[in-house]
Subunit: 187 residues, 2 copies
């Protein structure tokens, strides 16, 4: 082990933003598996992970969403500057908030997980859109709360046109191209 | 870089517990410098670091102290299992809470930064004991709140008898002895 090498190898942050049901978590899980299979250090930060511990006091108002992302940013900052690939999937509807994450982390990639609203309403994976449209869930992004689409995402995925596997591979290719992970010559 | 090696190299957690003014932060800072000078990955988690971001909504009641440590534990868990040395200094007065951190992190070392109450009152570095004794600060550990001394700490430092430098070196020696960091043959 070269200590100098240990210090110099940075990690990165793959930040997936998009509507509920757009496919963020599914893509994150496949991506994490691929990275782990390569023996790389990787952590997944997702609502289902952090809202049990790190942010379990928070709801979904604009203020609480910002606090949620603020705490996740703290964790992503420490992981990414210590060589860990950090795969984050959060609706994160506000551009300014996403820009803050970029400013505070190492090798940040904004990934727009894009699916048209009518498609995610049609999918309604967790039955949430039905409730949100009926007014039973307040502050629901895309229905009663805004989603600010990324101005200039590093990667733009269209999950109504590409499979989860293709989307994950797309991100992996970008990580290789940027030199954030070693290039794999045969898979 | 061997990817297998990357995955297998664990980090550790140095958890310093003790009264306000016992010397936790001073020792942590010297220890972190020594580790960084060796080119090792290390992060310091301390009240002054996390209460600005991760836990800035929290006060010092028993409930808030527990939440504070719960969030720090989440971060320490992710860092320590990814090869990062995580140096934590928190009063953390409850044994059960410290045991929880141990259960949730990798290579945890409980370090009791011990100084008698009359010594830390005499030092009163931040002028806090005077206020606490006057009743101006509620829930002050050692005065109006309990401190549960570690039952069986991995390292027991006596800061009324040893210098900050000696205490930091003591921890460094233990990290070497346990194989958590490479042994340095000349310094």
């Amino acid at each position: 082990m070269s200590n100098e090498n240990e210090m110099n190898k940075d990690g990165y942050v793959v930040w997936m933003t998009g509507l509920s049901g757009s496919g963020k978590t599914s893509i994150a899980m496949v991506l994490v598996d691929k990275l782990k299979n390569r023996g790389l250090r990787v952590e997944r930060l997702d609502g289902d992970v952090v809202r049990q511990s790190l942010t379990r006091d928070l709801g979904f108002t604009e203020e609480d969403r910002k606090k949620n992302i603020e705490r996740v940013t703290f964790v992503a900052k420490l992981l990414s500057r210590n060589g860990v690939g950090t795969i984050c999937s959060f609706i994160s509807p506000y551009q300014a908030v996403r820009d803050d994450v970029r400013a505070n982390t190492t090798n940040f990639l904004e990934v727009f997980v894009d699916a048209p609203l009518d498609v995610v309403i049609e999918r309604d994976v967790k039955g949430l859109y039905k409730k949100a449209i009926a007014g039973e869930i307040p502050n629901f992004t895309g229905i009663s709360d805004p989603f600010e689409a990324p101005n200039n995402p590093d990667i733009h995925l269209h999950t109504d046109q590409s499979s989860v596997e293709e989307c994950a591979q797309n991100i992996l290719d970008k990580l290789e191209a940027l030199g954030y992970i070693p290039v794999l010559h045969s898979e």
